[in-house]
């Protein structure tokens, strides 16, 4: 059940958008396809919808093979980044569109539309036209329109991409709650890792037409499978392996999260000297930009109290302790304390 994608490839001219992708989206889960632009995430979503026909591979939705079915036969709900509402129709008419295509009776259409207007909390705005709504309202109408036909799966292409930061935050929380209510297998595309972390049950990280890792938000952050995932999810410092003596192979790099760097005033056996170049206050936390002695930049994250307790400032030299570093050798992750890696 859910969505199964098997060995899908798609090429646009010389550009390999999808390269032999396999994916299983479990029934009832909300899954994010996360990746930089050009990583193939939108193409994968559109291939599942039938808006793009893959060059090879197969697609199943709830056990039924969909590979050769038209979009209109797949019973999917699709939400577009720029809403794609029918601007010549009112909110009610937009939501009713799919029901009317399916020749649902008038009274039943009205009942369903009212139900959906309740769900998206736009009861009073049914007779407005899309041009008279805000971006967030439009996207909720688009969602109601997609849900009206009771699709087997819900597919959302950068659904919050065109909205302002605040609306975006509200709407993604709302989408998560809505998903808990309706429990419909859903896939959404995003390039915003924070969004993926906050909304999704599972994150699929894509890069250059391939899937790098599939896992829960916690898993992809704590146990990144590849250097790409490590760099893409969360902030990270990348240090050359040649820094001090190290067990990591030459040519590979060592990754350290900003919060795994401890700043202290006194040197210890494993600490390194660094100069503070810049300090950024971010509400409850402080970002400290440092320069190691060999001109290697480093970013550390501290909470406010820790920082104030240290009592140092830009230009001063401090000692940094690198905790929990991760290195990738032959594609295998090795994590451990820097003493292991930097000795």
């Amino acid at each position: 059940m859910g969505i199964v994608v098997e060995n899908i490839s798609k090429r646009f001219g010389h550009f390999q958008a999808l390269d032999q992708v396999d994916l299983v989206v479990p029934d009832g889960k909300l899954v994010a396809l996360l990746g930089p632009s050009g990583s193939g995430k939108s193409t994968l979503l559109r291939a599942i919808a039938g808006l793009e026909s893959p060059d090879q591979g197969k697609i199943w939705i709830n056990g039924q093979e969909m590979t050769h079915l038209n979009v209109q036969e797949r019973q999917i709900g699709f939400v577009f980044q720029h809403y794609a509402l029918f601007k010549h129709l009112t909110v009610r008419q937009n939501i009713a569109f799919g029901l009317e295509i399916r020749k649902v009776k008038g009274a039943e259409v009205r009942r369903r539309v009212n139900e959906l207007l309740d769900l998206i909390q736009l009861q009073g705005l049914g007779d407005r036209y899309p041009a008279q709504l805000s971006g967030g309202q439009r996207q909720r109408v688009a969602l109601a329109r997609a849900l009206a036909v009771q699709p087997q799966v819900l597919l959302l292409d950068e659904p919050f991409g065109a909205l302002d930061a605040q609306v975006r935050k509200d709407l993604r929380r709302w989408l998560r709650d809505l998903h808990h209510q309706v429990n419909l297998t859903s896939v959404f595309v995003t390039h915003d890792q924070e969004e993926a972390m906050e909304v999704a049950d599972e994150i699929v990280i894509m890069n250059e037409g391939r899937i790098e890792q599939v896992g829960t938000p916690q898993a992809v952050y704590d146990n990144p499978a590849t250097p790409f995932v490590m760099k893409f999810v969360g902030e990270v410092n990348i240090l050359p392996s040649g820094l001090h003596r190290t067990h990591a192979q030459m040519g590979s790099s060592v990754f350290i999260r900003p919060h795994a760097i401890k700043i202290q005033s006194q040197p210890t056996a494993t600490s390194l000297a660094a100069t503070i170049t810049h300090v950024v206050y971010r509400g409850w936390g402080v970002h400290v930009e440092l320069m190691l002695s060999d001109r290697i930049p480093l970013t550390a994250q501290l909470d406010r109290q820790e920082w104030e307790f240290l009592g140092v400032d830009t230009g001063e030299t401090v000692q940094v302790e690198l905790q929990e570093a991760i290195a990738f050798a032959d594609g295998q992750q090795q994590s451990g304390n820097p003493p292991l890696l930097f000795r």
């Binding site: 979009v71 209109q72 699709f78 577009f80 029918f86 569109f97 407005r128 036209y129 329109r145 997609a146």
Partner: protein, 276 residues
């Protein structure tokens, strides 16, 4: 800084220039048509309308227009959709080819058709003649010439509107279960209607009024292959100015009818969509 007064007088000067220009090139010539048509009173005008040659010319013009509009609308819509929704090699060339009728003189277009379909000399003429179809100096030639000169209008008006609309509403309709016809009728058509109506209006105006290309292919045989614009010219050449201006007035009347039709449609849609 200009004073308020001199700004005001500037405004009036501009309006006066515009009105003068409009009167010179539009209002006075139109008035002349009306005045000349009624030179011999209502009776003269009505007599002119009852002439067999006039009626034949009107019939030909209306038939040619009635065939041209649906064909070019269909072609224009298809061409516009293909061009707006696809990127393919030769796309720019196709756009240029659709514009060819604009850049070729109508007389040359007519001559081209004669060389192609002429009964004895044409490339395809003998073939059609053997099937008993007379193209040149007959209705088919008039229709072909009219279609040729009005080909670009609908496509030209619809392409930018379709491009502006983007493919997403169509994709949304299909994800909601709409087939091709439902997508076109319920989503594309309501969104491109202004461009389409305008394209059809231009096609209609040109089809009614085309002179050069039709004059060449039709042979301008009075009472048999002369269309309304040709009838106007022939009557005038024969010193029948009342007949000429009466026919011109009728021709102008068709144009006005079309504009009224457009206004009614606009009004209908404005009532349906108060927000637009």
């Amino acid at each position: 800084m200009l004073s308020v007064n001199s700004q005001k007088s500037q405004k009036w000067a501009l309006i006066a220039i515009a009105l003068f220009y409009l009167a010179l090139v539009l209002v006075i010539p139109a008035l002349v048509v009306v005045v000349e048509a009624f030179r011999d009173g209502i009776g003269g005008f009505l007599a002119a309308l009852q002439s067999r040659n006039f009626q034949k010319a009107t019939e030909l013009t209306l038939i040619a227009t009635a065939i041209t509009i649906p064909l070019n609308t269909l072609f224009g819509l298809c061409a516009a959709w293909v061009i707006a929704r696809n990127r393919f090699p030769g796309r720019a060339l196709l756009i240029s080819i659709i514009d060819v009728p604009f850049s070729i003189s109508p007389v040359v277009a007519g001559l081209m058709l004669v060389l192609l379909y002429g009964e004895r000399i044409g490339w395809l003429g003998p073939l059609f003649a053997s099937m008993g179809i007379k193209v040149i100096f007959a209705l088919p030639g008039i229709v072909l010439a009219t279609i040729f000169v009005t080909l670009p209008f609908v496509a030209r008006e619809v392409i930018p509107v379709l491009e502006d609309l983007g493919p997403e509403p169509e994709e949304a309709a299909r994800t909601l279960g709409a087939n091709d016809w439902q997508t076109f009728y319920r989503v594309i058509l309501p969104n491109i209607r202004w461009g389409l109506i305008y394209g059809v209006l231009l096609t209609n105006a040109r089809a009614l009024g085309e002179f050069g290309a039709v004059a060449v292919v039709s042979g301008s045989i009075l009472g048999r292959t002369s269309t309304l614009p040709i009838f106007v010219e022939q009557s005038y050449q024969n010193y029948q100015s009342v007949a000429a201006f009466s026919a011109a007035l009728v021709l102008a009347g068709f144009g006005v009818l079309m504009l009224i039709g457009k206004a009614i449609l606009e009004n209908y849609y404005l009532k349906k969509l108060p927000s637009h």
